[in-house]
Assembly symmetry: D3
Homo-oligomer: 166 residues x 6
């Protein structure tokens, strides 16, 4: 039987910080593909609370015991990064209609830039459908309890950064 | 190196008739997964123009020269069919917001019925974003030209059924 | 100066019955174009409360004193009707997102059938944003007051048909 | 202190059958209002699996131990029913965008019929965001497991009706 | 008869400035609940044209003759403010789909922070469906007429601030 | 025959830079109206990559050989500009749902400011449905190929500004 080439998907994002919604998507990703590369975006128009190194380091600790998950970082165009990686699939999460439209636009532009890279959408668990990095930062900065909304491995450092001295 | 298990996705639908939009999704599917099973739904609340046998036969002729594509049919719950197939992924196409909501509801129900089956969405080519089996039937029945909207292998029989004697 | 060709737009619909929302769109249409042809659809999958003749007759009485408005009927494909009319514009009303998606699909298919016919969308007055022929029939049949929701010229006959003997 | 008039809300629906999503909305309703009247719609264009009497009886058993909840039935226009009830609020559930548009249209028409009746929307628990009576019937009829999707008091009779002899 | 506890709803917002849309929502709120607390948000990421004191003062003057309406201000998390107020209901206005998604996300996060606080949505009058504080500021700053878009009690000071010397 | 007054539409935008999507809309505009005025917005909250003069100059070169197209610029309110122009129609492009809502709000506000100015929406070609000035700038700045996404007359200067020295 011809040797089966593993399917690798890139899961790109700013991950500022990494949330339980992101984590649930990666878990569904490794049930769908052989390998998922969590690709942390370096250049982003958003001013982030955590540096690129910190965001990469947090992701590595979260997936320490998941051999199907790799963590990397990239700058510039996502499509250029995927082209020089072993992947030919971009994996994105869908939560609601407004996600859909933005993702649709990005996926069609990426397809124009490289028609051989497929964008595939997975749905977050409904438990995390309202969750985003920005709403977590908003709640934490205003004294709200974000326990359980970020993976436990990074909870303390996220609180320390967002609510110094808490 | 541990033997890599091929990734198989089920692409379910009524396919009454099969459109160029469906075809473009399957082509993107086999660039993403090792194998795609086109699963033609037997039991459907819609009264179809083509019988189940005809719809299965048309799909088989369309993908005759595509070894990565299998054609099958199923009755009852999609999730039950996938459970006894080699696949653990359901592949669906997304065209617009209204698709999104219906698909979201179905995917969450399927996930409740079997949390190990992942629903994955791909986007049709923008050329076919307006295309659906029902709009093709509507146009053909009213004397419109549907050339190029269904795969050429089945154009004559689709016209013959929708516009007898044309 | 070269002679200016008047711009004519076709405003197609089932108009079962004609509503104040339809009327407000036609009024905005004749402020935009030189002439508007209200084209009443003969063949429709919906079973209508009023026959084609009745719907055409009602529209004619409503626009009796509006020289910029013509009333006609058509069967089969809208695009075929427009092609043999003096118009090259199809005028449609937009009320909400779900309208938008259906209209988007129809407009792209019509554009595929004849790229020289432009579909143009106008917005109903916000007063009529919730109004549709079907919600009017629903309310009237259940004894609700639809005064002011259909043009006064046709109020009596609409009530007589929907709530016989009222 | 002037005597406080209790706030009563009418929660209308076909409830064919009553789902856990409906139940979670009523529970949130009685935390918001003093009393909730579950008003089962008699006249409906949908052909129901359960008669009006059966649907009323099921709702009564579900809320047997909830003094803040009353069960009633109505025919004709919802607004006319609310006008002769102690309520001046209509309570509706929102799950997703497509709900939103339909509800928006109904609420604006109801407001036109009686500006003193307020329509108020509550959000279902995210656990039930994909749930509807029709998707439950669809799954059950096709042999799927709907345990936990309808209140336990009515599970047996719902299964018996949808999958006779199971 | 057991003493009826009045239902109080908190209507939070930046109100920069207060609009006729906001006013119409509060009017519908006091037809639904016994008391509405207009809670002006202190901490906001948006840089406001009016200080917190000015926004609170304007709201107080607008509702001077409405005993069912109280005006207050809050900082930090809305849920924390509601918890120490007599209210257990958050009242929000819905205008269109994009509102819906943002509100949905906020309401689900608030529910996670305190499951006993219910978020309830009312619909603005269709007259104000296009109105927002930002579009009013945009129009006024560019010399447009905003008469009738803000309550008359605050029109002069809003114009004076947005178009000094007009 | 009474002399026919030509129909002129204003097509307003920031055009930073002008895209093939904008171009395709203007081409459909001159098939619908006698004349289209491309009105480049001076005052805009967005910080643009090209000055107003550069944006006007680029548009003029693009439509050099199109006598039905005029290029102008305006400051302040669009409605005020249209009122002193020969046009009584504002022409806007619709790509997706999120466009729709923003456009809906703007059109209703413009209608409030001047009920005699009609806003009319045309749909971009599906080829450009994902295209916007901002996504083009984003891709170009990150080294992506934007050939064919802006009219060829302005490609070199757009690249020179976005990727100096390329």
């Amino acid at each position: 039987m011809a040797e089966v080439k593993p399917v690798t998907a890139v899961f790109p994002g700013t991950f500022d910080p990494f949330t339980r919604g992101h984590f649930s998507l990666v878990m569904r990703g490794i049930k769908t593909f052989h390998k998922v590369i969590v690709a942390v975006a370096g250049s982003t128009s958003k001013n982030t609370k955590f540096s690129l190194e910190e965001r990469v380091d947090m992701a590595k600790r979260i997936f320490e015991h998941h051999p199907q998950v790799e963590v990397d970082s990239f700058d510039g165009l996502l499509v250029h990064y995927v082209e020089q990686s072993p992947a030919n699939v971009i994996m994105r999460g869908l939560r609601a209609v407004s996600d859909f439209e933005y993702e649709f636009q990005m996926a069609l532009m990426n397809r124009r830039l490289d028609n051989d890279i497929q964008t595939v959408f997975l749905m977050t668990d409904y438990k995390w459908m309202y969750l985003s990095s920005s709403i977590i930062k908003d709640v934490a900065v205003n004294g709200g309890d974000i326990k359980g909304l970020v993976p436990r491995q990074i909870y303390d450092e996220v609180i320390e950064r967002l609510v110094p001295g808490k």
